[in-house]
């Protein structure tokens, strides 16, 4: 295939020569085909299961709708209830209530955007018309009407976008320093990291930025539930907490090694960390520094934790094994097994549990 581009002929030639150094053949033919065949069979099984599901849904629709009405409270309520495993098992399953915002892969022809997934797993994702670009983190306004995300403009610039989750109406803020991974506090302030690792806050309605503490660097800044403190990951890969006004030095929190992302609720700080080969979830008590793994018994990496408003549940992503089993899960922090609430392709998604309004 050739195109009318007189420039770049030498670059083309040298890239071809560079490509001659690429691996000559894929060394994992048998392993790849074995996984691919399993994945293809799973896909066909899914299609078959979908057809069965259609008939089941038709049969059970009335009962399911009745259940939804009975189990979904209106207004603020605890975000969990004890439920029984489908199929009559005696195992208890803790089903969460509420909605989880998922900023991820969009429909064909569009960039990643916002969809809403029911935390109880009953109902598919409700896709909104909000967004069409990738982002690393999603955060809700305290009233649950809007979200804030960072949007990359080019390799040196980014903006903060506050978007109405229903209409998509957006407000763009352009603090300097290429803002990223913003988090919205109950007090109405936004905290974000800059490209060079500084931590800044600003009012959600716009206004001047404030450096949390001069010389302080970190990533993934996260508000405490009361908006008085900020947890973050230090440049050396540790958890730390600093007062929102930065008047005192940050306190390092003993916790899992190599944290990657976190969320903070009344129950503690949920952390995705990679102490070994795979990323796993931990719950850290910021007052004592104690931490414990959130045992999900799932293979694969567990990332992007977001906690329910009452802190009783954690939603997270799992990338599965061999292309199967991945998706969005919800697990109670104290007991029960994780519930797969959406098995879509979530490999690039950002999650945030919607506040109860």
């Amino acid at each position: 295939m050739s195109h009318d581009r007189p420039d770049g002929d030498e670059l083309r030639r040298r890239l071809d020569r560079l490509a001659a150094g690429a691996p000559g053949s894929h060394e994992r033919r048998d392993q790849t085909l074995s996984r691919a065949h399993r994945r293809a069979r799973l896909g066909m099984t899914t299609v078959g299961a979908g057809l069965v599901a259609v008939s089941l849904v038709a049969t059970l629709a009335v009962g399911a709708i009745r259940d939804l009405h009975r189990e979904r409270p209106i207004g603020p309520a605890p975000t969990g209830t004890v439920d029984h495993e489908p199929g009559g098992s005696d195992d208890t399953m803790i089903r969460a209530r509420g909605d989880i915002g998922v900023w991820g892969t969009g429909p064909a022809g569009r960039g990643p955007n916002l969809s809403i997934v029911a935390a109880d797993g009953r109902g598919g994702p409700d896709r909104t018309a909000v967004g069409s670009f990738p982002t690393d983190r999603l955060s809700w306004s305290p009233d649950g009407t809007s979200v804030i995300v960072a949007r990359r403009v080019n390799d040196a610039e980014s903006t903060l976008e506050i978007m109405n989750a229903r209409t998509g109406a957006s407000t763009t803020m352009r603090p300097s320093g290429a803002p990223q991974t913003p988090d919205w506090s109950v007090t109405g302030r936004i905290v974000f990291a800059t490209e060079n690792g500084s931590l800044l806050t600003m009012p959600s309605g716009g206004g001047p930025t404030t450096t949390v503490r001069p010389g302080l660097h970190g990533s993934w800044p996260t508000w405490s539930p009361d908006g008085d403190q900020i947890a973050f990951i230090t440049p050396t890969g540790h958890l730390a907490v600093v007062g929102a006004r930065g008047s005192a030095p940050p306190q390092r929190i003993p916790g899992p090694a190599h944290p990657g992302s976190l969320d903070w609720s009344e129950s503690g700080i949920a952390v995705s960390a990679r102490p070994g080969a795979e990323a796993a979830l931990f719950l850290v008590d910021p007052s004592t520094g104690g931490s414990r793994p959130l045992a999900t018994d799932l293979p694969g990496n567990e990332t992007s934790p977001t906690m329910s408003p009452d802190g009783r549940f954690v939603a997270f992503l799992n990338d599965g094994v061999d292309g199967a089993g991945g998706g969005l899960y919800v697990v109670a922090i104290d007991r029960g097994r994780p519930l797969l609430v959406d098995d879509g392709d979530r490999s690039d998604a950002a999650l945030a549990w919607k506040p109860v309004s």
Partner: protein
């Protein structure tokens, strides 16, 4: 280069189809993954994951003859997500520094190595845009579809990428 639309496999039993698709596309996908990452092991991983992903979607492809084009998009997306995720998890630097410098067969080792190092320094989207245009030889509108952006953005990425390469490598870049 990954085969263009309609090049391979218009039919065949499903049991054999994956094998045929693999033979037809794996080598080209591997070269693209390697050009995007510069890392032999990662490229092998990306191609395996991309192929498995595509296998899961095979039954749902609207245009099965376009498998190669879909695979290309999947490879680029996985390479991009790898970069983003590693950056978020603050592992990128460690991995990047650990990149294996593969011995290559080019007689002009110094020039080739210099080009590879210059590509390594480019942000991912600039690198991808350069590779897709000058190595995969894709027109801007197809590159825009692969990268999920507008044609003007592709041109901007290429312009900036070429500018950086020119600073590193000289005016021959074009």
């Amino acid at each position: 280069m990954i085969a263009a639309v309609g090049d391979h496999v218009a039919g065949g039993a499903s049991a054999d189809r994956l094998g045929v698709l693999y033979e037809a596309h794996a080598a080209d996908a591997l070269r693209l993954a390697w050009m995007l990452t510069g890392d032999r092991t990662v490229a092998q991983d990306l191609v395996q994951d991309a192929f498995v992903k595509m296998a899961g979607r095979l039954a749902h492809l609207r245009h099965r003859e376009a498998f190669g084009a879909y695979l290309r998009v999947t490879v680029v997306n996985l390479a991009r997500m790898r970069g983003r995720r590693l950056k978020v998890e603050r592992e990128y630097l460690a991995r990047h520094q650990a990149d294996l410098r593969e011995p290559h067969r080019d007689p002009d080792v110094a020039a080739t190595e210099t080009l590879r190092q210059a590509l390594d320094r480019l942000p991912f989207r600039q690198r991808a845009a350069i590779v897709l245009r000058f190595f995969e030889d894709l027109p801007d509108d197809v590159t825009a579809q692969v990268l999920g952006c507008r044609r003007t953005t592709v041109r901007s990425l290429i312009h900036r990428g070429l500018g950086t390469l020119r600073e590193d490598l000289g005016e021959w870049v074009g």
